[in-house]
């Protein structure tokens, strides 16, 4: 019995571009066009797209950090109004792509993780929760007093995950969580995300351009191009038998290893 957690209804977002050299009135950029998407509790959904596909815009709208031009995003049936729903922060959290820039370089690790707890007025012992969450992402509690530049890329991403999970969200959005990490570290982080979202019953939305990352973690995949959903469905089915030519192009473009066995 799966309940609907997040839903996008005819979601569109258009931007007015700054007046260019032509100077004649403002051009429009259709970042997202009439998108529909249903995400149920416990789902693991992957969003695939290249630059300009609209996936970044979608993420901001799902987080309630932006207002749609038309259509709506609903969280458990309630329509999101940007800036007017502080409680949403507690429910929907995000892990960003680049751990170097998503952590304030002037703050200690413990302060970084404490931030959502303070801002969202979480009623539990903050210090205990910080320790708890550091444990769950596999970091030593001694890291509390370190600064981001003292940590490796993989460790920083673990901090970012800890920060996202601290307020016990219902939904976790991971935006290219391993793209900026070294190849050998990637799978550890993916395993961590999978294990945590499983054990904590968190719904996962994973955005990536890397199909193997999506295949590793997600049951469902949504393929986007130029602001529109071109294909969606069960991950295995879509990747094995892509219906849309763009999906096919993405799949063929992946460089392959030579056969070894």
């Amino acid at each position: 019995m799966s309940q609907l957690v997040l839903e996008a209804k005819n979601l569109s977002r258009t931007y007015k571009l700054a007046k260019g050299a032509s100077g004649s009135g403002r051009a429009l950029r259709h970042a997202l066009i009439d998108m529909n998407m249903k995400i149920n509790s416990g789902d693991r959904v992957g969003i695939v797209g290249e630059s300009g596909s609209g996936k970044t815009t979608l993420v901001r709208l799902l987080l309630g950090l932006d207002t749609p031009t038309s259509g709506s995003v609903e969280f458990k049936g309630q329509a999101l109004i940007a800036g007017k729903m502080p409680w949403l922060r507690k429910e929907v959290q995000i892990v960003f792509q680049d751990p170097r820039s998503s952590l304030d370089p002037r703050m200690k690790i413990s302060e970084i993780i404490r931030e959502p707890l303070v801002c969202l007025n979480i009623q539990e012992d903050h210090n205990a929760r910080i320790d708890e969450v550091l444990d769950s992402v596999g970091l030593d509690r001694a890291m509390r007093d370190r600064y981001p530049h003292e940590l490796s890329g993989g460790q920083r991403q673990r901090v970012a995950i800890a920060r996202a999970l601290a307020p016990r969200p219902t939904v976790l959005i991971a935006d290219e969580p391993v793209s900026a990490l070294d190849v050998l570290v990637r799978d550890q982080i993916l395993e961590l995300i999978a294990a945590l979202t499983n054990s904590l019953g968190i719904t996962l939305i994973l955005v990536s351009h890397d199909l193997s990352v999506i295949a590793r973690l997600c049951d469902r995949v949504i393929v986007m191009k130029d602001g529109v959903v071109v294909e969606s469905g069960n991950t295995r089915q879509v990747f094995d038998a892509p219906a849309h030519e763009f999906t096919r192009a993405l799949i063929t473009a992946i460089p392959r290893l030579p056969e070894s066995r």
């Binding site: 950090l65 507690k90 680049d98 801002c119 969202l120 920060r163």
Partner: protein
């Protein structure tokens, strides 16, 4: 951090110069060779001697004493002007940076217009209305410098606000005020320190210029700028009268400039070292 300060020539040299200046300031309250205002007609134009270490001016006032006490005006005006400039400038800069798109453009234009006003012009206007005084000088310099501080602060704050960690703070539920307090201000620290040291040297120079023009602290309080003005007509007769206050001004301005440079050096390599 300390290692970065070790070979830092700018910081060391600058600090020495700044210390000399403050030493003069403290000395001015404890002891001066003569009362700087004491007129000794028999010592008129006395050269460098045991009696007057740096010589005496036309009416026999000891130059060294004037320089020592003159530091009071200079540093007082600079300190006050910089305080005004930093408080107003940083607040304005941050407010504009966080303002919504619609209001930002006109505000930035306003700052640019304010920037076009030189301190001297402001000082003349204020002096014309209220009569020249230390207060008018402070106000004029403070406001003029505030515009420059506002502009630099706005740009730096804008960069910070565009960063991923500020976005993460938003996603964590932080209010705009909290983001300013906890993310923007701390990351502005380096920029502000540098701006403050630059502002001090600008203020000192500005005060000297205003005093020279007669728009600053009125007589009889000794002021380096006025000493320069007064010594102008005797330049070929007794150049030392102009050189001593000139050197004093140079030491203070250069000192604070070097400290600012040194501070920038300290912060830059640390930032670069954050990635292997």
């Amino acid at each position: 951090m300390r290692k970065a300060m070790k070979g830092n020539v700018s910081l060391i040299a600058g600090s020495i110069m700044v210390s000399i200046t403050f030493a003069l300031l403290i000395l001015s309250f404890i002891w001066t060779p003569y009362d700087p205002l004491a007129v000794n007609p028999e010592d008129s134009f006395a050269g460098v001697s045991m009696r007057h270490i740096l010589g005496a001016d036309k009416i026999g006032r000891d130059i060294l004493s004037q320089i020592i006490v003159g530091s009071r005006v200079t540093l007082f005006v600079a300190a006050l002007a910089v305080t005004i400039a930093m408080t107003l400038g940083v607040s304005a800069g941050i407010l504009i940076a966080v303002a919504s798109r619609r209001y930002q453009s006109p505000m930035i234009y306003a700052v640019n217009i304010a920037l076009a006003f030189p301190a001297a012009l402001l000082a003349i206007i204020l002096a014309a209305v209220y009569g020249a005084s230390t207060i008018t000088a402070v106000t004029a310099i403070g406001l003029a410098t505030a515009a420059a501080v506002a502009q630099v602060t706005r740009r730096t704050a804008h960069g910070i606000l565009a960063s991923d960690y500020v976005l993460a703070a938003h996603a964590s539920g932080a209010s705009t005020w909290r983001i300013i307090r906890k993310h923007v201000m701390p990351n502005l620290r380096a920029s502000l320190l540098i701006q403050a040291s630059a502002a001090v040297s600008v203020s000192v120079l500005a005060e000297s210029s205003l005093s020279y023009l007669g728009l600053g602290t009125p007589p009889p309080a000794p002021s380096w700028g006025r000493m320069l003005a007064g010594s102008q007509q005797y330049l070929f007769v007794n150049p030392l009268l102009a050189i001593w206050p000139g050197i004093a001004i140079v030491i203070v301005v250069l000192g604070f400039n070097l400290v600012g440079d040194g501070v920038r050096e300290v912060f830059d390599p640390t930032l670069r070292r954050s990635d292997s």
